[in-house]
C-alpha cells in the first residue's frame, strides 16, 4: 500500500499563494482532484510528482520526500496536462524509450503491456504526429504506466478524448484503482469523476475545502437541506402530508412534480415511504436532486 502524504503544504510565488496549508493523505484507489480554474490543482500535482518543492510543509510518497528524489519515479508515474511528445516518434518507440529510461529488465515486454492496457497496440507503429488528441493522451498514459508504478498522478487525462476513449480510460483507471494502486486525477467533468470513483479532494483558491466520499460530504452539509424531486399519483396530497413533517422544511409543487427540501435527511427518508403508504399514494419517482458531485462541488465553491 503506497500513500501520498501532504502535511501543511504551502506553495507561493512572490505574493501569489498557489497552495495554502494543505494536509491530505491519498491511499489506494482512485481519487478525483477537483477545483475551479486557478485553484492550485496543477501546482499540487506537480509537487506530488517532485517537480516543485513546497514552500513550506512536506510532500512524501511512500514515506520518502517527492522533491529531489529520483528514486520516487520508480513507483510514481505522472501524466501532466501540457507536456509535448516528439511527433516524429511512434507510440511504440516513445513508450519503449521510457521503459529503457526506467532501466526495466525487459523493456519490450513492459512497453507491449503498457500499450495494450491503453488499447494503442494497433496504432503503435504510426508516428505520434498523425495521432488525434485522444491517442496522444493514451500514449502518454502508457508511458507513465510502463514501469508499473504504484502511484499514478494525472492532470486532466480525458482532455480531447471522444466518448469511447473516455469510457475506456475511465474503465482503465477504475481497474487500476481496484487493483490497489494509488491514483489521483484532476478533472472538470464531474459526471466522469463520479463514475470512476466517489472519493474526491476539493481545492478552492489554494485551500482544501473537503475530502472523502462526496455522498458523505453532502451528508455533512447539515445546514443545507437535502432536495428531493418526487413524482407520485397525487402530488398535492403528498405535499400536504409532507409539509406537516418536522423533517421537511419546504415543498414546491410544479407540473413536473414535487420538490421537497428536507432538513433532516435520516428522518425524512424513513418517513416518506410510510407517509405515502398511509395516504394510499403511489410513488413513481424519488430522486435526490442535489446529491450529485456537481451539486456538492458547487456548494463547496460557493460557501
Amino acid at each position: 500500500m503506497t500513500t501520498i502524504e501532504l502535511s501543511n503544504v504551502s506553495r507561493w510565488y512572490g505574493n501569489v499563494v498557489a497552495v495554502n496549508n494543505i494536509t491530505m493523505t491519498l491511499g489506494p484507489g482512485v481519487t478525483g482532484l477537483l477545483g475551479p480554474n486557478g485553484a492550485g490543482k496543477t501546482t499540487l500535482l506537480h509537487m506530488m510528482a517532485g517537480f516543485l518543492p513546497p514552500s513550506r510543509g512536506t510532500v512524501t510518497v511512500a514515506g520518502a520526500p517527492a522533491w529531489r528524489n529520483p528514486s520516487v519515479y520508480r513507483i510514481l508515474g505522472l501524466v501532466s496536462e501540457r507536456e509535448a511528445v516528439h511527433g516524429f516518434l511512434t507510440a511504440w518507440e516513445f513508450v519503449l524509450a521510457n521503459a529503457k529510461l526506467h532501466r526495466l529488465p525487459d523493456p519490450e515486454a513492459a512497453a507491449r503491456r503498457a500499450l495494450s492496457l491503453v488499447e494503442m497496440t494497433e496504432a503503435q507503429d504510426r508516428r505520434i504526429d498523425t495521432y488525434s488528441k485522444g491517442m496522444r493522451q493514451r500514449t502518454r498514459v502508457a508511458a507513465a504506466l510502463v514501469h508499473d508504478p504504484q502511484v499514478l498522478v494525472l492532470d486532466e487525462p480525458f482532455n480531447g478524448m471522444d466518448p469511447r476513449q473516455r469510457l475506456q480510460m475511465m474503465d482503465l483507471l477504475h481497474e487500476l484503482g481496484a487493483a490497489g494502486r494509488t491514483i489521483l486525477f484532476s478533472s472538470h467533468i464531474l459526471e466522469e469523476v463520479e463514475q470512476v470513483s466517489g472519493t474526491v479532494q476539493v481545492i478552492v483558491a489554494g485551500r482544501l475545502a473537503a475530502s472523502g466520499d462526496y455522498r458523505s460530504i453532502r451528508r455533512l452539509m447539515t445546514h443545507r437541506p437535502h432536495v428531493f424531486s418526487i413524482h407520485s399519483s397525487d402530488d398535492r396530497r403528498l405535499a400536504v402530508a409532507l409539509i406537516g413533517q418536522p423533517s421537511v422544511t419546504g415543498v414546491e409543487l410544479e407540473s413536473t412534480g414535487l420538490t421537497v427540501r428536507a432538513g433532516d435527511y435520516g428522518t425524512f427518508t424513513r418517513a416518506l415511504p410510510k407517509i405515502a403508504l398511509a395516504e394510499g399514494i403511489r410513488v413513481r419517482r424519488l430522486l435526490p436532486s442535489d446529491e450529485s458531485l456537481e451539486s456538492v462541488f458547487s456548494y463547496l465553491v460557493a460557501s
Binding site: 477537483l34 477545483g35 475551479p36 480554474n37 486557478g38 488525434s132 488528441k133 485522444g134 491517442m135 480531447g160 478524448m161 471522444d162 466518448p163 469511447r164 476513449q165 473516455r166 469510457l167 475511465m170 474503465d171 477504475h174 472538470h188 467533468i189 464531474l190 459526471e191 463520479e194 463514475q195 470512476v196 470513483s197 466517489g198 435527511y265 435520516g266 427518508t269 424513513r270 416518506l272 415511504p273 410510510k274 405515502a276 403508504l277 403511489r282 410513488v283 413513481r284 419517482r285 424519488l286 430522486l287 435526490p288 436532486s289 446529491e291 450529485s292 458531485l293 456537481e294 462541488f297 458547487s298 465553491v301
Partner: protein
C-alpha cells in the same frame, strides 16, 4: 422546454440536410462516407469519435470545402454555390483559440460584425448586445489577452451571434471550462436555443452535456451516420426500477425475494424488474416495514453513452451504480 420564438424561415425546409455526402482527401483518407441525414431546427448534439468526420462536415456546411460527391444543404441552400448567403445566416464558434490578445472584446466583436456586413453603427450596437447576452459586462473593454478561459469562450460565442444568424455551430463550447463555467455556458446555449429562436448544433465529447441540453442527436462514426434521433427516444425508460436505500440494502433484497420480486444488486443499487404498476407499491411497503431510509426510486433510463459501448463492455460497465447515480437526474 417549449421554444418561444418561431424560426424565421419556412418550416418545410430542414435546417441541415445531406444526401450521400462523401469527402475524400486523397485515395486513402475518406473523411465522410455516404452520409445522409436530415436535421430539424432545435438544439442538436453532434457527437462522434475524433477523426470521425465531424470537423469535415462542419467545414463543408460552412462552404470551406467542397464535397467529393453527394450534396449538403443548409436552409435549403448549397454552401458551395450560395456561400455568402449561407454564411450570413450561420454563426461559427471554433474549438481552438482564435482570439487576438491585444484587442478588447468590444472592438473585436464590432470588427467582425462589420466583416459580416453590418453597417458601422449596427455593428457596434449588436456587438454590445451580443456581449451583454453572453454575460460580459465591464470586462468587454479590457484586452482579450487578460481574459480567463470562460470569458474567452463567451467572446467566441458573442462573435458568432453578432450578425444574428439562424443557426449556430458550436465546436466543443465547454472546452477548458471549470464546472461552474460549464454550467453557465450550457445554460446560455439552452437559452439561445429556446428563447432566442436560434437553432444550435453543439459538437461535444461529453454525452452528459448533450443529454442535458439537446433535443436531438446526430452521431457520426468513421464518416458514416451512426444514429440520428430525438434525445427523448434515446433516453427512454426501461422496465427496470432502480432502488437505493442508504442502509440495509441486503435486508431489502432478501425481503423482496421473499415477496417474489426479482432484485439484483449493482453496487449501491438494487435493480428490480418492473412487472406491473403495483411493483412500486410493494417496494415502498417493504422499505416502510423494514424502516429503511429510501434514497432513490426511479425507472432506469437509457443513456446516449450506450451508443459507444462495445457489446462486450456493456456487460461490465464501470462502477455501474455510480454511473446510474450520475445519469439519473
Amino acid at each position: 422546454m417549449p421554444r418561444l420564438a418561431p424560426p424565421p424561415y419556412p418550416r418545410r425546409v430542414p435546417l441541415i440536410a445531406t444526401q450521400s455526402l462523401t469527402k475524400k482527401y486523397n485515395a486513402r483518407v475518406t473523411a465522410l462516407d455516404d452520409l445522409t441525414v436530415t436535421v430539424e431546427p432545435g438544439v442538436i448534439g453532434l457527437v462522434g469519435a475524433n477523426g470521425a468526420g465531424k470537423s469535415t462536415l462542419i467545414k463543408i456546411l460552412l462552404g470551406l470545402l467542397p464535397p467529393t460527391s453527394g450534396q449538403a444543404r443548409v436552409f435549403g441552400l448549397d454552401p458551395t454555390v450560395d456561400t455568402a448567403a449561407v454564411r450570413a445566416r450561420v454563426g461559427y464558434m471554433p474549438e481552438h483559440d482564435c482570439l487576438p490578445p491585444d484587442l478588447s472584446a468590444a472592438e473585436f466583436v464590432t470588427h467582425l460584425g462589420r466583416i459580416s456586413g453590418l453597417p458601422r453603427t449596427a455593428a457596434r450596437e449588436r456587438a454590445s448586445e451580443a456581449l451583454r447576452h453572453v454575460g460580459l459586462y465591464e470586462e468587454r473593454y479590457r484586452q482579450i489577452g487578460g481574459y480567463s478561459t470562460g470569458m474567452k469562450q463567451r467572446v467566441k460565442l458573442a462573435q458568432a451571434l453578432v450578425h444574428d444568424p439562424d443557426l449556430l455551430l458550436l465546436d466543443e463550447p465547454t472546452n477548458g471550462l471549470d464546472p461552474a463555467g460549464r454550467d453557465a455556458m450550457l445554460g446560455l446555449i439552452h437559452r439561445i436555443g429556446t428563447e432566442f429562436g436560434i437553432s444550435v448544433v453543439v459538437c461535444s465529447h461529453l454525452l452528459g452535456e448533450v443529454e442535458r441540453i439537446c433535443d436531438s442527436l446526430v452521431a457520426i462514426d468513421g464518416g458514416r451516420l451512426l444514429r440520428s434521433a430525438q434525445l427523448s427516444a434515446m433516453t427512454t425508460a426501461t422496465d427496470v426500477l432502480v432502488v437505493e436505500v442508504s442502509e440495509g440494502m441486503a435486508e431489502l433484497a432478501r425481503r423482496l425475494a421473499d415477496l417474489g420480486i426479482q432484485a439484483r444488486q449493482d453496487g449501491r443499487l438494487l435493480l428490480v424488474a418492473l412487472e406491473s404498476d403495483d411493483t412500486y407499491d410493494r417496494i415502498l411497503a417493504a422499505v416502510a416495514e423494514l424502516d429503511l431510509p429510501l434514497h432513490r426510486l426511479d425507472q432506469r433510463r437509457h443513456h446516449v453513452a450506450e451508443l459507444f459501448r462495445t457489446p462486450a463492455a456493456q456487460g461490465a460497465q464501470v462502477g455501474g451504480s455510480a454511473s446510474e447515480a450520475a445519469h439519473v437526474r
